[in-house]
């Protein structure tokens, strides 16, 4: 007996073997960033675009640590609260990466929740898609909004598990499953993953991948958590493909009743 290989994980026409995507924020230094990302096995790595610090010595650059030749880079629009700012940020990122088209769109509602502003997200997606970007979109776990974003042409739908950086896991697994079941493009849980079991749960729900940052960067040992996340995503994916056993109300012995010495 042999196991069949999984189908490839495809984003915007490119195949990837890792279904774990990671961010580059909140690490102690670039050494830790590079080591944790390598340990996670991630192939797609997200980063932010910000003003350069004027009047300061330019230190090492993040893109020296996560080299565009080794990783598929995913510039994000974190910190944008309007469609206009998100579109400008994506265009700057495209220039920064010499014509790179893949972006992670997120337009946020307020600083307390960082909850997606869906109205602005839809506006930004429309402009970016018309401008030729491949848009992976961070959104609420609302299946109707997810369907709309897919219909517009977004290449991946990324509902939150819970608030960004909260570590509260997947608060509404039923909605995530609804989104997975209706979608033809990859669905990734983005935000809220706190520990390995949360990442496994996302995959067991049938998600195509998981995007996380703080769960690794703010673990006591980021490198070990990076490895745990890699294993969790693989285990969760296999469990989903394998199909879980049915739940029962009563016990069902694993050892046969027949042939017991007291029978």
């Amino acid at each position: 007996m042999t196991l069949q290989n999984d189908t490839p994980f495809t984003i915007a026409g490119r195949n990837f073997s890792s279904r774990l995507l990671v961010g580059t924020g909140k690490y102690k230094d670039f050494d830790e960033t590079g080591a944790a990302i390598a340990e996670s096995g991630a192939e797609i790595v997200t980063f932010a675009v910000r003003r350069t610090n004027l009047g300061q010595e330019a230190g090492p650059n993040l893109l020296d640590v996560i080299s565009p030749s080794r990783y598929t880079l995913l510039p994000n629009t974190a910190g944008c609260y309007t469609a206009k700012d998100a579109v400008r940020t994506c265009r700057l990122a495209r220039e920064l990466l010499d014509g790179h088209k893949l972006v992670k769109l997120e337009v946020l509602g307020d600083e307390t929740t960082l909850y997606p502003n869906v109205v602005e997200t839809l506006k930004a997606a429309e402009t970016l898609l018309a401008d030729g970007f491949d848009v992976m979109v961070y959104t609420s776990d609302d299946p109707i909004v997810a369907r709309e974003l897919e219909a517009m042409g977004c290449c991946a739908i990324m509902p939150l598990g819970s608030l960004i950086g909260s570590g509260h896991g997947i608060q509404n697994p039923h909605n995530v499953r609804l989104i997975v079941e209706q979608s033809s493009v990859p669905v990734l849980v983005d935000a809220g993953i706190g520990t390995a079991s949360d990442a496994a749960m996302a995959m067991e729900l049938g998600c195509d991948g998981v995007l996380l940052n703080t769960a690794i960067a703010h673990a006591r040992e980021p490198l070990r958590m990076a490895r745990a996340m890699k294993s969790a995503v693989e285990a969760g994916r296999d469990a989903f493909l394998a199909g879980r056993m049915p739940r029962r109300q009563t016990a069902d012995p694993s050892s046969p009743f027949a042939g017991r010495i007291n029978g």
Binding site: T24, V49, N76, L92, E95, N213, T214
Partner: protein
């Protein structure tokens, strides 16, 4: 000449190009992207793009984020 650079007032000689500004900021050869008045200036056009009074200039780079 006065411009707004990354949201702050900045004074420089008149007639300079975007490439001259990047040079003054010691960012030549660094991976940055430049926007003037909300329009991207492609890297290939930095040397031929002259800055004007009151231009709003943004110079950005990649940093850690999730």
């Amino acid at each position: 000449m006065h411009i707004q650079l990354n949201g702050e007032p900045y004074t420089l000689e008149a007639g300079l190009t975007a490439a001259d500004l990047i040079d003054q900021l010691a960012l030549t050869g660094r991976r940055v992207a430049v926007e003037i008045n909300e329009e991207i200036v492609p890297r290939s056009q930095l040397a031929t793009t002259r800055l004007a009074e009151d231009d709003q200039v943004e110079v950005v780079h990649a940093i850690g984020g999730g």
